[in-house]
Every structure is written in structure tokens, then in C-alpha cells.
């Protein structure tokens, strides 16, 4: 297929998407760099981007760096909190997803289609609607408090919705667990039942089976699911805003969002974003690599 028509056909087909990615992904990213490494108008407090990389200044990055690691490090708690919330939420999502995905892949039998459809359903329910559902339930006079206080018998009223870290982490788990479930299901579904039977026949106990066959074979699903949920959580500000709206539970995303909303702090928002992306660069590249490997395997 080396004739002239095909030599130009494939690049032409790919052209629209490539132009799109350059114009609306690479160029905006360069603008973020120029704003973050630019200066701020001393009078109007408006950011002035510097377009020439050779003239880039690092005052905005310095400001953000000082807030992270300097003497007045009021950004640091939110950053540490983010890592802690994400770690707990990812671990919880794994613990929840594993039995559910395993049941669906292996034992659901005639209910398999139904269970799968129900597992996929949260994907198509708006994230904001799912948060709204919990706001309704967790109101001071909401259903959860009614149950906890046994209909008003026990005189405790738990304040769920302002600055309660438990609620925010629960919200993250609730919001992201479907994205862990599906890759894990796909990995577990690929394990042939005869392999498990063979392990059984060779004398493996239930625990052996899990530790030495199922777990190793589900690693690709675990990795994909973990990356798929932890990366967006790192930029999440709306879960905390919806379920807490308090600085006590603010995450990195909230810091960025607040800087964007504050006049004159666009550069700092950009600088903070760049720092976050630098940290996430390795997991992001890892994800593209595992994706490429999965393609080769299939």
C-alpha cells in the first residue's frame, strides 16, 4: 500500500485532530507557562504574560513556593490533606471494588447483565447530581441524621456538611469508585475459570488462590483504576466545595480555584497548576505506557 494516494491519505485523516490538539491543548498550555512565568502589573494587579521563554521570570513561582515550603506555608496543609484524602479514597475504592468486580465477573451468573448495567449506571448520572443526592441526605434534618438519631430519640445532631473531612472523603469515594470498578472488572473477567480450577486442583487454599493467582492477574486493572481515579482527584475542588465549603477540608484544587477567582492571582494559579502537573507527570506518562502495552497485548 505504498502508492501515492495512501501515503497522503493517513496523515490527511489525522490532520484535523492533530491541528485541534496543537491549537487547543499545546497553545493553551504555553499560555499558562507564559502567564505563570510572567509579571503582574503593579498598578492594576493584572497579570502580564511574557511570551519569550528566555525572559521568563520566576517571581510567581517563588510566591507559590514560599506558601508551600516557606515560613508562612499556608498552602502546605491543603497539599498534605489532598494526598491523604486521595490515598484513603483510592484504598477504599479498591477495597469496595474488588469483591464487587470479582462477584460480577465470576458469580453473577444469570444476573450478570443486570449487575453490569447497574455498575455502569453511575457513569451516566451527573457527578453534581450524585453530590446533590448526598447534600439532601446529609442536611441537619436529612435522612441520615434521622437514622443516626433513631428518629430524634438520641439527642445528637451530627454536622455533616461543613468542614467534616469524613463527608468529603466519602464523597470522593462515592464519586470515583465506578471508575475503579470497570477496569478491575475487565481484568478479573479475563482470568479463565479453568486457571482457578487448576490452582484448586493443585491444592491451593482460598487465600492462596487470591494471593498467588487472582491478585497478580488483576494488577493491570488495579494500576489502571488507581491512575484513573487518583489523577482527577488531584484537581478536584467541587467535591469539597459541595460537601463541605470549608477551608478545613480544602484540597489543592480548591487552592487553584480560589486563586483563579481572585483578581491578580492568575499567575499564581498557573504556577501552582504547573507544580501539580510536574508531580503528576510520571503517573500520567505511566498511564499512557500501560495503555500502549494493553494495545499491544490485545
Amino acid at each position: 500500500m505504498g502508492d501515492r494516494s495512501t501515503r497522503f491519505l493517513w496523515p490527511t485523516l489525522g490532520l484535523p485532530a492533530m491541528v485541534w490538539i496543537v491549537l487547543f491543548f499545546l497553545v493553551p498550555f504555553y499560555v499558562v507557562l507564559c502567564v505563570s512565568f510572567g509579571t503582574v502589573d503593579p498598578v492594576f494587579r493584572s497579570p502580564i504574560p511574557i511570551w519569550n521563554p528566555l525572559e521568563w521570570q520566576f517571581s510567581q513561582v517563588q510566591v507559590v513556593w514560599d506558601r508551600l515550603f516557606g515560613p508562612n506555608n499556608f498552602y502546605l496543609p491543603a497539599v498534605l490533606r489532598t494526598f491523604m484524602y486521595v490515598a484513603i479514597a483510592v484504598a477504599a475504592c479498591l477495597v469496595i471494588s474488588f469483591p464487587v468486580a470479582y462477584f460480577t465477573a465470576r458469580y453473577a451468573g444469570q444476573y450478570r447483565g443486570l449487575v453490569l448495567a447497574l455498575l455502569v449506571a453511575p457513569f451516566f448520572i451527573s457527578y453534581m447530581m450524585r453530590m446533590l443526592a448526598w447534600i439532601n441526605l446529609l442536611q441537619p434534618d436529612g435522612l441520615v441524621n434521622t437514622i443516626v438519631t433513631l428518629g430524634g430519640l438520641v439527642p445528637v445532631e451530627i454536622n455533616w456538611l461543613s468542614g467534616n473531612p469524613f463527608t468529603v472523603v466519602m464523597g470522593l469515594i462515592y464519586g470515583y469508585v465506578p471508575y475503579m470498578l470497570l477496569p478491575l472488572f475487565a481484568a478479573l473477567d479475563r482470568i479463565s475459570p479453568s486457571l482457578l480450577e487448576a490452582a484448586r486442583d493443585l491444592g491451593a487454599s482460598g487465600f492462596d488462590l487470591f494471593r498467588r493467582v487472582i491478585l497478580p492477574m488483576s494488577i493491570p486493572g488495579i494500576v489502571a483504576g488507581t491512575l484513573l481515579i487518583s489523577l482527577p482527584m488531584m484537581g478536584d475542588y467541587f467535591t469539597s466545595d459541595m460537601l463541605s465549603k470549608s477551608p478545613n477540608t480544602s484540597m489543592i484544587g480548591n487552592l487553584i480555584n480560589l486563586s483563579i477567582a481572585t483578581p491578580g492571582q492568575s499567575g499564581q494559579a498557573g504556577a501552582l497548576l504547573i507544580l501539580v502537573l510536574l508531580v503528576l507527570l510520571i503517573p500520567m506518562i505511566w498511564y499512557t505506557r500501560t495503555n500502549a502495552k494493553a494495545e499491544v497485548r490485545s
Partner: protein
């Protein structure tokens, strides 16, 4: 128990039956345990949403105390209902508009790019593929801020508002058709196309008449995913919106959920849920019809696996 006494077929059947039922024998307890966990999980995942839908039909203003069934918040409340509150109506129509337009742009250019990547080797396509995959996993806030800064600091021919929102959404969703169609193209392989070429089809003709029809289920699935995901989008549409006329349902929920809203907010969310469900059911029916005609596996698992 004497194995020799039972015919081999009976043993096989018995074993298969046990596997099919899945809930008997030594693994029975484990299956029931896992089944119970799954049931509890599904209740936790879906009941809160069901309650939100239920309270959209509440006759009173409360979102936690049931005061009787009514369609007040959908139609007849003079100023608070979905029908009579212009800002809710705008949010609904704008959300659906964004979803339709973004899907119509994303899917064609994504599919063409997947076709190109399937044959075109080299650094340029590999780099473009890498960038497309990065847009898939990069936190959405990064894309949103990038476009916000671009529109603010560069003299772009479009300002904040609908155009900027659509551009942002397409950029964020582009990876779906690319990843899904590439996976499908890999399973199709090259030989159908080679056969068509041997029989005299042009390169474009082979793509149009052989590859595109075989790719149709993947295109359909990616279109459904993009559509549903855009209905759900929040970060990009919020940063790139201009005024109240470019507000979406998710933005409205974000802004009013904590400020004592009426069940009209639940009603609006329910309507978007119904739109999403309709599109998925229609897509699933089309997918099943198409794959049945092609004599392929139509298990919902394959549908879900391509997601």
C-alpha cells in the same frame, strides 16, 4: 461416590450447571458473601440518587420531608418550577446543546485520527497519540485553565461562552473515540482491507466501505460516552462560561445546592438523568441491532467492556 458409574456427560453437565448457577458447592458461601457485598454496594451507589429523583415530585418545598406527590416542581409552580423558571430552562437547553455539538465535532475527528494512527507510523503520529492520551488523564482543571488563559490573554477570534465551552469539551473528550476505535481497529486487523484493495477498491473506498461499517459499534459507543460525559461536565463549562446564558445544569447545582434550593433543582437533575438514560438505551438498542446483524456477541458485558 463411584465416578465410573455415572456417564461422563452427566458429570460434565452437573459441573457446568454448578458453574452456571454459581451459587452452590464449596464456593457457595463465598459467592453469597460477595453477592451480599455487591448488593450493599449497589444500594449505596443508587439509592441516594433514587431519593433525589423521588423528592423532585415532593408537593412541599422540603428536600428531606415527604409532603405528598405532585408535579409542581416540573410544571405548575408559577415561578419555581422547571417550566416557569427561565434560568433552569436555559441551563437545560444549553447543556443539551453543548452535548450535541461537542459530540458531533469530537466523534468524527477522533475516528479519523484513530484510522490515521492505525496505519501511519512515525514520530509525529506517536507524539500526537501521546498528547491525546495525556488529555485523557490530565486533571480537567488544567485544560480548563489553559483555555481560560488563552482566551483571556491571546486575541482569539472567540471569547468566553458557548464557543469556548465547546472547544474545551471537544479537547477533553477527544481521547474517547481515539482509544475506543483504535482498540476495535486492532481486533479488525488489516486483512479485510487488503482483500478489498486486491479486489480493486481504492484506499479511500476500502476505508469507507469495509472499515467504517466494521467500526460502527465502536463509533456508536464513543458517541454515547462523549454525549453522556458532556452532559455531566462541570469544570470546563464553568471556567469557560461567560454569563447566565451559558450556565449548565451542573453549574446550577453547584451554585444553588447548598443555598436552600427547592425540589425544582432535583427536577432539573432528574430531567438530565432521563435524557442521558434515553440516549444510552437508544444507543444500546442500535448497538444490539447492528451487532446481531453482523452475527457478533451481543452480551451487555461486551458493550460495557468497550466502554
Amino acid at each position: 461416590m463411584t465416578i465410573s458409574a455415572a456417564p461422563a456427560e452427566a458429570i460434565l453437565e452437573e459441573a457446568q450447571g454448578r458453574r452456571r448457577r454459581g451459587l452452590r458447592g464449596t464456593s457457595g458461601a463465598r459467592a453469597y458473601g460477595l453477592g451480599a457485598i455487591t448488593a450493599v454496594y449497589l444500594l449505596w451507589a443508587l439509592v441516594p440518587v433514587a431519593i433525589t429523583v423521588l423528592f423532585s415530585f415532593n408537593a412541599g418545598r422540603s428536600r428531606s420531608t415527604w409532603q405528598g406527590f405532585s408535579t409542581r416542581w416540573y410544571t405548575w409552580d408559577p415561578n419555581g418550577s422547571v417550566l416557569n423558571d427561565p434560568s433552569i430552562r436555559t441551563a437545560l437547553t444549553h447543556t443539551v446543546l453543548l452535548a450535541i455539538v461537542a459530540t458531533l465535532i469530537t466523534v468524527p475527528i477522533g475516528v479519523l485520527f484513530a484510522l490515521a494512527l492505525d496505519r501511519w507510523r512515525g514520530r509525529i503520529p506517536a507524539g500526537a497519540n501521546f498528547l491525546a492520551l495525556i488529555t485523557f488523564v490530565i486533571p480537567e482543571i488544567a485544560l480548563a485553565i489553559g483555555l481560560l488563559f488563552m482566551v483571556t490573554f491571546l486575541a482569539t477570534p472567540f471569547g468566553l461562552g458557548t464557543t469556548a465551552q465547546i472547544i474545551g469539551l471537544v479537547t477533553f473528550q477527544l481521547a474517547y473515540p481515539i482509544v475506543i476505535c483504535r482498540a476495535r481497529l486492532l481486533t479488525i486487523g488489516a486483512h479485510y482491507e487488503e482483500a478489498a484493495r486486491d479486489l480493486g477498491a481504492s484506499a479511500i473506498g476500502a476505508v469507507r466501505r469495509i472499515i467504517l461499517p466494521m467500526l460502527f459499534p465502536a463509533i456508536l459507543v464513543s458517541a454515547i460516552l462523549v454525549f453522556a460525559d458532556v452532559l455531566d461536565d462541570f469544570v470546563i463549562v464553568r471556567y469557560l462560561s461567560s454569563d447566565a446564558s451559558t450556565e449548565t445544569t451542573s453549574m446550577r447545582i453547584y451554585q444553588t445546592a447548598r443555598a436552600a434550593p427547592t425540589p425544582a433543582l432535583n427536577a432539573m437533575a432528574t430531567i438530565i438523568l432521563v435524557v442521558s438514560a434515553l440516549v444510552i438505551v437508544m444507543g444500546w438498542l442500535a448497538y444490539r441491532r447492528w451487532t446481531r446483524r453482523q452475527g457478533e456477541n451481543t452480551d451487555i458485558g461486551t458493550f460495557a467492556n468497550t466502554l
